[in-house]
Amino acid sequence: MSAAPESLERLIELMARLPGLGPRSARRAVLHLLGKRGQLLLPLAEAMRDAGQNVRDCVICGNVGLADECAICADERRANGQICVVEEVSDLWAMERAGVFKGRYHVLGGTLSALDAIGPDELRIPRLVDRVASEGVTEVILALGATVDGQTTTHYIADRLPDVTVTSLAQGVPVGGELDYLDEGTISAALKARRGL
């Protein structure tokens, strides 16, 4: 069907798996890259290889970084007793952009979903329970989505952590995966207006 040579076909197919891209936009992107071989294609390939080799998941919180422990977990000033639980690394970045949260994070990597076979063990939840017990945590702030799965995860975690204050970002503020789309003011308002569970 396709007129593209085989190695390009493979590139297009891989690009098409990126969020927001489909076969048609992937073809366009690949042709664009080819047109800017020196300025874009080769530097991109190099940057991707570099990221693939050097970036890893933080063993403590699930954030991405260059060492086993991410920069936030390694920073003693962030040990203020608060942990903010988010679905994805993009949510962590959004919180950091807002610059109002001074504690540490825990990245679940998704939400509970029995239908998708994603249980607590697939989500770094046991790791969170360990951290709360061992890190002198005083408050766990849940910043998960307002979807059924996000709320189930919120209830679940609150239930698993009976010995610590658990709060959730103000209701009505779309969070979790969507944090990424919120401006700094909204995030900081949601954080201030958090409520106990």
């Binding site: 509970l112 979903s113 029995a114 239908l115 249980g119 607590p120 059924v148 799965d149 709320q151 189930t152 995860t153 919120t154 209830h155 679940y156 239930d159 698993r160």
Partner: protein, 365 residues
């Protein structure tokens, strides 16, 4: 406000290749032989409300065959341009006034109620159909009902999967049951309020159709009404549910009971014609309640309803629709079924030529 569909354009939708119709807000009577494409037109109208329309069809079933290129409906509804379509093999998409929109947002534009031949057996078949019927009426009063129902469904499907997989994590059940409790409370409350409004409309109507007494039932036990009690009932039901592999308590098991009030006979024991009359009575009551309380006159779809009524009842039905001021889409096999409507309606003849539906505006018969 009276919801009006002022334009309907179908492209490659079921038997229609290209059909464009303009409406002025009067009832629309459509006639044509069996298989001409009348119900397909009515189905397109029903897709202008949340859900899968009056046939509950999947997006891929709506595409015109054999071409199977994708389909599109463009409508002017209550002054807004609504576009809904599906490309081949893709999910259904929706745009309102050029902007991507969710199906639940359609509920705010217009209420659409329907009566179709497959509902003829509603009173004698399983509870699911009656529940769906009640939920559509409830949704017409409370647009937020759709969201509560979706949330409840989602949490229940999750819980049922845990039950099937024999998962024993009590925290996980508890988290899902809390959400089912919260959404369930809204469902129970909305349904009860809807039944109360229907009962009021039935009691105060000048109508030729029989008054039904409505009530909600739940198997085995009374259905808890508030979130905490529902959540507790679900937790308590876990062992039984584990054995059954599904959730046995909750608003998803409620049933709508109707009794022909004047005779004291349960709907399921009424004659086929009487059962239909009860449905017509309910849909008219629903429309009147909406008009009186919300000031929202719904769009009605009455597919093959006229043929089941004698001339006198038919005339009364038309009078009641016109009195409501509702844009009702009526179908039948011949123009004579609509004689009593006269100049109070618009007319469309639907015919099939070589596998393509042709819809043509006609003068009053």
């Amino acid at each position: 406000m009276t919801a009006v569909l002022s334009r309907l354009a179908l492209s490659h939708f079921r038997s229609h290749r290209r059909t464009v119709l303009d409406f002025d807000g009067r009832p629309v009577a459509m006639w044509g032989p069996n298989g001409a494409g009348k119900t397909n037109l009515a189905e397109a109208v029903s897709l202008l409300s949340p859900g899968r329309g009056l046939r509950r069809a999947a997006a891929e079933d709506l595409v015109r065959r054999p071409e199977a290129l994708g389909w599109k409906i463009v409508a002017t509804l209550a002054g807004h341009e609504v576009e809904t379509w599906a490309e081949a093999g893709q999910a259904r998409a929706l745009r309102v006034d050029g902007k991507a929109a969710t199906q639940t947002s359609l509920a705010a534009l217009a209420r659409v109620l329907w009566l179709v031949p497959s509902m003829d057996r509603l009173w004698i078949e399983g509870a699911e159909g009656r529940r769906r019927f009640l939920d559509r009426m409830t949704l017409s009063f409370f647009p937020g009902h759709a969201e509560a129902a979706l949330d409840y469904e989602r949490a229940m499907r999750e819980r049922n999967r845990l039950l099937k997989d024999m998962v024993r994590d009590a925290h996980w059940y508890g988290a899902l049951e809390a959400q089912m409790g919260a959404a369930g409370e809204a469902i129970v409350r909305n349904r009860a309020a809807a039944i109360a409004r229907l009962a009021y409309a039935v009691a105060n109507a000048d109508t030729a159709f029989p008054a039904p007494d409505l009530s909600l039932t739940h198997p085995d036990r009374d259905l808890p009404q508030d979130a905490a009690a529902l959540t507790a009932a679900l937790a308590e039901s876990r062992p039984r549910d584990l054995a059954a592999g599904r959730t046995l308590v909750g608003p998803h098991r409620a049933d709508l009971d109707a009794v022909w009030a004047a005779k004291g006979v349960a709907a399921r024991d009424c004659s086929t014609g009487e059962q239909k009359a009860l449905l017509i009575s309910l849909i008219l009551a629903n429309a009147r309640a909406l008009a009186a309380v919300e000031g929202e006159v719904p769009i009605l779809i009455l597919d093959e309803v006229s043929a089941h009524l004698d001339a006198q009842r038919r005339a009364r039905l038309y009078d009641e629709i016109v009195a409501l001021g509702a844009q009702a889409f009526l179908t039948g096999t011949g123009p004579e079924l609509f004689e009593e409507l006269g100049a109070r309606a618009q007319y469309v003849e639907v015919a099939e030529e070589g596998g393509v539906s042709i819809a043509t505006e006609r003068p009053a018969p």
